[in-house]
């Protein structure tokens, strides 16, 4: 659940913050508010629906090649963003809502809507493709794991969408220059993060020469995803801070009581938005740092349980391993190598799954139990317990056992032979 929450919150933040800033920077006449509103919903919806359809086609058909789609979507998005920024600064100090919107005003609105559509397409694809991780391997959508994952995913999107709503409202309350600067900074972060991967995609189709410098920039972006997300978080809190600093502090002495109430209500609203913005911002920052660390933490292996070397066998008490949980043992081979092996009872039957605490793919990284399932510590593959004891893939390398006098007997010779896996 936490893993999907962190993943969706990471992928949705740029989408929500950029969408909010684009929405906050539309310009229109008060009489055309509803029409611009409908166009906004249409732009956002078209981009989002197109992204969902592309993801569905990518996951279920052979009709989509994502790198090529990213080239087209990324190119048009960059063009739309630059046009939007030009329109934003061409507006200078003109008000966004005006009775007589001119060409600059219309240019700003259309570039904002075009960018909104493309932002929802370009950033929507990786966000919606992450939903493929909701159902674990060999699981079903209606299993508890899947439902918890789905809740985590949706919660991540909802929290970031809430952050976006706060940005859209707060940005509409700040002075023109501050609004343009904050919007430009967010767009600049986005453009830098889009440009390097796009150049790499251009180079892949030989449209431009390969560039080591660009690849280094791309690596820097990939390796600094957390600071970049935190930059978005800061930029999402700033409008609410500016809105409270620049609020109208008091109505004139001769103002009507209604106007005074309006000023007071506006201040209260701005304070509430600032409070909500800070709470969501701190929550998101914690998600990208502490939450991410917890979600990606590699669990420690459980302690080695006692076993007895008796002649040619290592003996394990059957009673101790008949609870359906994973048990770990070790044998010290000649040369001092610790050969770890695991035992788990299969479905309350008399059969046991036995194998080394290592697999052919991941080596001696070990297995742990998570919510009643056996999981590879290195690659996070969830084992089907019924298949433990069969060779191949990420399965524990099988070892044989005999059952006699209430004990599982493992051959010392076999464990000695397998010591090479742990060296």
């Amino acid at each position: 659940m936490l893993k999907l929450f962190v993943a969706s919150a990471e992928l949705a933040l740029p989408l929500c913050v950029l969408s909010a800033m684009l929405i906050a920077n539309r310009s229109y006449a008060p009489t055309r508010r509803q029409r611009v509103g409908r166009l906004t919903v249409a732009s956002l919806g078209t981009g989002a629906v197109a992204a969902v359809v592309i993801v569905w086609l990518r996951l279920n058909t052979q009709h989509i090649r994502l790198p090529v789609i990213n080239i087209w979507a990324g190119t048009f998005l960059l063009a739309a963003q630059f046009a939007f920024l030009a329109a934003l600064w061409l507006m200078t100090r003109r008000p966004l809502v005006t009775d007589a919107p001119g060409r600059r005003s219309r240019f700003l609105t259309w570039t904002s809507l075009a960018s909104l559509l493309l932002v929802n397409l370009y950033y929507g694809i990786p966000l919606y493709i992450a939903i493929d991780g909701v159902v674990p391997m060999n699981g079903t959508l209606f299993a508890s794991d899947s439902l918890l994952n789905l809740i985590g995913y949706i919660l991540g999107v909802v929290v970031t969408a809430f952050a976006g709503w706060i940005v859209a409202v707060s940005l509409g309350r700040v002075p023109s220059l501050a609004r343009r600067i904050v919007t430009t900074l967010a767009m600049a972060v986005a453009i830098v993060c889009q440009w390097a991967p796009l150049y790499q995609q251009y180079a892949a189709v030989k449209f431009v020469p390969k560039s080591s410098l660009n690849f280094d920039v791309l690596l820097w972006i990939q390796r600094n995803s957390v600071p970049i997300l935190l930059a978005y978080v800061v930029l999402s809190v700033v409008p609410a801070v500016i809105a409270i600093v620049t609020r109208r502090r008091a109505a004139p002495a001769d103002a009507a009581p209604a106007e005074r109430r309006l000023v007071r209500a506006d201040t209260i609203s701005r304070r509430r938005f600032l409070g909500a913005s800070v709470v969501v911002g701190v929550g998101l920052a914690a998600t990208y740092t502490v939450g991410k660390q917890i979600a990606e933490a590699v669990p420690e292996l459980s302690p080695i349980e006692p076993s007895v070397v008796n002649g040619d066998n290592v003996e394990v008490d059957v009673v101790a391993v008949s609870d359906g949980h994973l048990h770990r043992f070790a044998y010290e081979a000649s040369g001092g190598t610790e050969v770890r092996f695991i035992v788990i009872q299969k479905n309350a039957s008399a059969a046991f799954g036995t194998g080394l605490d290592a697999c052919e793919i991941c080596g001696p990284s070990g297995y742990y139990e998570r919510d009643g399932k056996v999981v590879c510590r290195k690659c996070d593959v969830v084992m089907n317990v019924q298949t433990i004891g069969f060779a191949g893939g990420c399965n524990p390398i099988p070892i044989s056992y005999d059952l006699a006098d209430g004990k599982l007997l493992f051959k010392v010779a076999e464990l000695e032979q397998q010591a090479k896996v742990f060296r």
Binding site: V41, A42, G45, T46, G47, V49, A50, V53, I54, L57, Q62, H63, I64, R65, L66, P67, V68, I69, N70, I71, W72, A73, L117, L121, I125, P126, I129, D132, G133, P136, M137, P197, Q200, Q201, A204, V205, K206, F215, L218, L219, Q222, R223, C359, E360, I361, C362, G363, C376, C379, D380, V381, V382, M383, N384, T387, F390, G392, G393, C394, N395
Partner: protein, 211 residues
């Protein structure tokens, strides 16, 4: 709502049409000849199928390993695998499908293979070294599997973006696969290699983008 659906449909159709444009992959044969080709893993059966686009691992091209093998390394989008009793990483948790293609050489006739054949029972272990950090990533042993373009060794893997040198260690199949060595006409004159073969693919730039 109708306009949104119409717009989204038009957008998807336009982009899907564009996505049919092939990417080029460049391959250099061990002989040094450079060829540029499209290399979809899935055969294009009709105009709407765009297939998976294999990308070369690094810029070294196919490598000769010992006397009998030509080894190519490619990667593409992670794929779900049908795996019987084996447990393998699912596509949804993986960054890519990492694949090693094996073809026999003319000289492999000495051990009974025709040229250009897949060789089974190899244990291939890739070790990736990130050039700037020095971090070593051990991909373990790749599993044998078959796709629409034939058998290969591979796995779905997760990998941090970086510039890697990929070193493959290829164990001889001698422990699992016997040779006829009698003097009769079924016997082969060659023998499997004894020391593991090493093959290197350099300058593998993995940018971490969706494939």
């Amino acid at each position: 709502m109708g306009k949104v659906a119409l717009g989204a449909t038009a957008l998807v159709l336009a982009l899907a049409g564009c996505s049919g444009a092939p990417e080029e992959t460049t391959a250099t044969t061990p002989g040094g000849t450079t060829t540029t080709s499209e290399s979809p893993a899935a055969e294009e059966t009709d105009g709407t199928v765009v297939g998976i686009q294999e990308k070369e691992v690094g810029d070294s091209g196919p490598q000769e390993a010992g006397d009998y093998l030509i080894v190519s390394a490619v990667y593409f989008q992670a794929v779900d695998l049908e795996h019987g009793s084996m447990n393998m990483p699912p596509a949804s948790d993986s960054d890519m499908h990492f694949e090693i293609d094996i073809k026999t050489t003319e000289k492999a006739k000495d051990i009974g293979y025709e040229a250009d054949q897949f060789m089974p029972y190899l244990k291939i272990s890739p070790k990736l070294t990130e050039k700037t950090t020095g971090k070593v990533v051990d991909l373990g042993t790749l599993m044998p599997m078959i796709a629409s373009d034939g058998p290969h060794y591979g796995n779905n893997i997760s990998l941090d973006p970086g510039k890697y040198t990929v070193e493959l260690t290829i164990q001889s199949p001698a422990d699992d696969f016997m040779l006829h060595t009698g003097k009769d006409t079924s016997g082969v004159k060659g023998r499997f290699w004894t020391d593991p073969l090493k093959v290197t693919f350099d300058n593998f730039e993995w940018d971490g983008q969706l494939l």
